[in-house]
């Protein structure tokens, strides 16, 4: 089931491989009456005090498919929902640690199986209806209902059993796990608490998919996030307005968010997003490539560009290690003999010039990788993994040990041949929409040419690439990247478990194909149920070391998180976790004097 959880996340993760994004528009100052509710447990945020009012305009790559958090799968939907909904416990994107959200506090039983959460009192949904334990019970009932097909469902099934939730009193809930869960309270992050008063009827009628769509009238939709629905214009924009009942305040006691409006414009391509940011149409930009970042940096005046450092995206080259038996095309089966040779993979790794990738692909704004955990993930990266410099000599030595040799062709070229005398050549798939990965593959092509290996780079439309890698398995090698949605190793479990669907080089194995994959499985499972951080870290370090040793994926590089924002945007603290800029949207504000105020 944990496996399942990762399965459904797989879809999401792949979606993130595509570039997304956002921006904001103009400003409306509306004096909102602060609803006076006694005994509210408001959450006070420290940080720079902002100015109330204004509108932030963000660009989205595509229209969100839904506003309903139970059903959202696509990245644009999740970006928008993140600003409209709230969870019980939240991962702070800057510190990467959990902090109280709708739950004021929580307790863990000594056996690690029971979490007792205490809700804040007096909170209201954005339509003014009060929040109670019944809403939470309803929420978990919906997420766990198999007929709803929520992508979050598998997250909530631990040790084969769904998490059991019961209410102790109107503000206290107990969550019972079937087995200890290493992720702990992080499981609550991103699980939006649903408005029971709006959803119970459609849910019972089986019409959950029909509510919370973009065409839902604003008054029929509510959440606990800093913004609520105001207006949607198909194909153009989605406008959110300040939620007057939001439960966070600044240190002055001002009820957040500062912004009156948050506008999402639909801008389909990343180049078009750069243009609309440059022209001042949008206020912030994120998910920027290094080249566009330097274009924007060269002429910054009214905006500032921020390099937030290495993110959680890791790019890698992997070979087709699937065992399809009889069904394998003979050409691929022949080449798999090389790919299965550990020394061959190590030789390729030794020959790859990672520094050149960082310099030429990311213009220096990135980090070379020798393992899956990026330097941006400070808590989990294994510092003991060696970072050997590029060495063609070592690569040649490894190849010789593995039975490869070189012959001179008539043209004077030295060609690597295998033990049967067949020249070593293969093709690398890349996504044609991702210029960066195509460039990596082209650099690897040149790196390996120096070993006498001929490579063809095949840029393919992303959908058909995924189809080949995960379904038909008709490919030889592929350059791909993954973005962990959380710093916790749990977010990547499905990539490393041999039965995982995102175990890209040989997905969904019935039994681990190799002893080292079995070993990884063991450490990962132990890690999932270990409850202390040092214990889990030690186990996950072992996973990273095995991966670095056996090189099922040849890790290449990780790009920095690059964002930009108008100078007028205050409290900008880009994080390396998604959503890079809007994670503290309730604290973002527009400084005065900016043209962002409506006349």
């Amino acid at each position: 089931m944990r496996n399942h959880r990762a399965n459904s996340r797989q879809g999401l993760r792949f979606l993130r491989l595509l570039l997304v994004f956002t921006g904001g528009v103009s400003a409306v100052a509306v004096a909102l009456a602060q609803p006076g509710v006694p005994n509210e447990d408001l959450h006070t945020l420290s940080g720079e005090l902002g100015r109330a009012g204004g509108r932030l305009v963000v660009a989205l790559r595509a229209e969100p498919k839904t506003l309903n958090p139970v059903l959202a799968m696509d990245a644009p939907s999740r970006d928008v929902i993140g600003t409209m909904q709230a969870d019980l416990v939240h991962i702070n994107r800057a510190t990467q640690l959990t902090e109280p959200a709708l739950a004021k506090s929580w307790k863990v039983s000594s056996d690690g199986l029971q979490y007792t959460l205490t809700l804040r009192r007096g909170l209201r949904f954005s339509d003014g209806q009060p929040l109670g334990a019944d809403d939470v019970l309803f929420t978990f009932r919906v997420y766990l209902d198999e007929s709803v097909h929520s992508p979050q469902r598998d997250l909530l099934v631990v040790g084969g059993k769904p998490i059991a939730v019961r209410k102790l009193d109107p503000y206290t809930l107990v969550f019972q796990f079937a087995q200890p869960y290493g992720v702990g309270e992080r499981v609550f992050d991103g699980l939006a608490i649903l408005p029971r008063h709006l959803l119970e009827k459609p849910y019972q009628e089986g019409k959950l998919g029909q509510v919370g769509t973009l065409s839902t009238p604003a008054i029929q939709w509510a959440g606990l996030g800093p913004f609520r629905l105001k207006e949607y214009v198909a194909g153009q924009r989605l406008i959110l307005e300040r939620n007057p009942y939001y439960w966070k305040t600044d240190t002055n006691g001002y009820r957040l968010p500062y912004l009156d409006e948050l506008a999402f414009l639909f801008v389909p391509s990343s180049d078009a997003q750069v243009l609309s940011f440059q022209s001042g149409e949008t206020d912030v930009i994120s998910r920027l490539g290094a080249e566009n970042f330097s274009v924007l940096s060269r002429q910054q005046r009214t905006y500032k560009m921020v390099d937030a450092g290495p993110g959680l995206e890791y790019n890698f080259l992997f070979f087709n290690l699937n065992d399809l038996g009889e069904k394998t095309p003979p050409e691929i089966a022949r080449k798999q003999k090389w790919f299965r040779e550990q020394k061959f993979r190590q030789a390729v790794s030794a020959a790859v010039d990672r520094e050149a990738i960082v310099r030429l692909v990311y213009q220096g704004r990135g980090a070379a990788l020798w393992g899956p955990v990026t330097p941006g993930n400070r808590r989990w990266v294994d510092a003991a993994i060696p970072h050997p410099a590029r060495s063609l000599d070592q690569a040649r030595q490894l190849l010789r040990q593995a039975g490869f040799r070189w012959t001179n062709q008539a043209s004077g070229e030295s060609v690597l041949v295998d033990a049967d005398g067949k020249p070593v050549e293969f093709s690398i798939l890349t996504s044609s929409s991702n210029a960066e990965r195509t460039k990596m593959a082209t650099l690897i092509q040149d790196d390996l040419k120096q070993l006498g290996v001929r490579i063809q780079v095949v840029p393919l439309e992303f959908r058909s690439l995924l189809d080949r890698v995960t379904q038909t398995k008709e490919y030889e090698a592929c350059v791909l990247g993954l973005v962990s949605f959380d710093a916790d190793p749990n977010s990547d479990v499905n990539v490393w478990l041999s039965r995982g669907a995102t175990h890209l080089w040989n997905p969904s194995q019935a039994h681990p194909a190799t002893p080292w994959e079995a070993e990884i499985d063991g450490f990962l499972e132990a890690q999932l149920t270990a409850t202390s951080y040092p214990q889990r870290k030690k186990l996950y370090d072992r996973v990273q070391e095995i991966l670095a040793q056996y090189q099922p994926m040849i890790f290449l590089a990780s790009p920095d998180i690059l964002v930009g924002a108008k100078n007028a945007v205050g409290n900008l603290h880009p994080a390396v976790l998604e959503p890079y800029v809007l994670w503290n949207v309730e604290q973002l504000y527009m400084r005065t004097g900016a043209e962002n105020l409506r006349p």
Partner: protein, 351 residues
């Protein structure tokens, strides 16, 4: 100037231009796929004649580039080191005209690379790539146009000469070919081919496809010419004397079509060069790292390249003289044909 002199003038221009591209290996200082990873997106370098002391040097020289602090694509000249240009220098091996193995280049330099037209994102010499890319693009244009005209001539002449149901069938086929959405068919065709095609296969695909697409128009023109030729008295006379179909075709029909074919060739070649550029731009052309004009221009799809590195537009500029040459040639040919002199010429040459 007489019309035939005009044709000659344009022919000389075109032969010279193609000669430069055909001997691209000699004029290009470097191997077009060789990467200089320290110098991506270097701007075109200047050749100097006067050194910092104000002395005029006998040989032009340049200063090597070094990256500015904390920048990956901004460079400055290292004026401490002047590297003189060497003429007829030994360098990367290549095959002159695709045949003779050779190492001499028109120019080169020891101790540093000279980027006359800048470098691309991999630090490959843009000047060398334009020359080598021209070989691929022009060859695709010439071969494609050649095959097209051959098919067009065969089908058009057959349709015009035999007439009747054969004419009907062939001309409806031509209309069908004109009406097909070729770009999408090409995408579909590419889907059926194996995933990784070698540069040579990709090149042949471009040639064959552009030829298959284009034959209908010349075929219709040829058919028209043949239809009129059929009615000429000398042809009727030849039939009367019992000439065979093959003889009539060779002696009387083909020469009539030569003006149409030549003009069509002058129009089709640049069109087919552009077809290669378009297909490569869409990712259907010869794969990296092989250079072609289309591949070089495909770099411009990225906004950052578009606004940052003006020298990436130069391949487009390189095409201009070729296209002007062909355009001039085609109008000169047209004029010549209209002046009526060509028929006499073709009669002679065919005889």
């Amino acid at each position: 100037m007489t019309t035939s002199r005009k044709v000659d003038k344009w022919l000389v221009v075109l032969v010279a231009l193609h000669g430069v591209i055909a001997c691209g290996g000699f004029f290009a200082p470097y191997d077009p796929v060789e990467q200089d990873r320290e110098r991506p997106y270097a701007r075109p370098m200047t050749l100097h004649l006067v050194d910092p002391q104000g002395q005029i040097r006998a040989r032009p020289f340049f200063y090597p580039l070094r990256a500015r602090e904390a920048s990956s694509d901004q460079y400055e000249e290292d004026t401490a080191r002047a590297i003189p240009l060497e003429f007829f220098a030994a360098g990367a091996s290549y095959r002159l005209l695709g045949l003779l193995p050779c190492r001499r280049h028109l120019f080169g330099a020891d101790g540093g690379r000279i980027y006359l037209l800048g470098s691309d994102g991999y630090g490959r010499d843009q000047f060398s790539r334009i020359l080598y890319g021209g070989q691929v693009s022009l060859l695709a244009g010439l071969l494609g146009a050649g095959i097209t005209l051959l098919i067009g001539l065969g089908i058009g002449a057959a349709a015009g000469y035999y007439g009747g149901w054969r004419d009907e069938v062939l001309m409806r086929l031509a209309e069908l070919f004109l009406a097909l959405p070729w770009l999408y068919l090409l995408f579909a065709l590419r889907g059926f081919l194996p995933l990784a095609v070698s540069p040579l296969e990709a090149f042949l695909l471009i040639v064959v496809v552009s030829a298959a697409v284009g034959w209908a128009r010349p075929a219709r023109l040829v058919r028209g010419v043949v239809l009129t030729a059929k009615e000429r008295d000398f042809l009727r006379a030849a039939i009367g004397f019992g000439a065979s179909d093959g003889y009539l075709f060779r002696r009387h029909v083909l020469p009539e079509t030569s003006s149409v074919l030549l003009t069509q060739a002058a129009i089709l070649i640049p069109q087919y060069v552009l077809a290669e550029v378009t297909l490569s731009f869409l990712g259907l052309g010869v794969p990296e790292p092989v250079a072609s004009w289309g591949n070089l221009l495909a770099n411009l799809q990225q906004y950052s390249v578009l606004v940052s590195y003006w020298w990436m537009y130069l391949p487009a500029l390189a095409m201009v003289p070729f296209f002007m040459g062909y355009l001039g040639l085609s109008s000169a040919l047209q004029e010549w044909a209209d002046s009526g002199k060509m028929e006499g010429w073709s009669e002679e040459s065919a005889g």
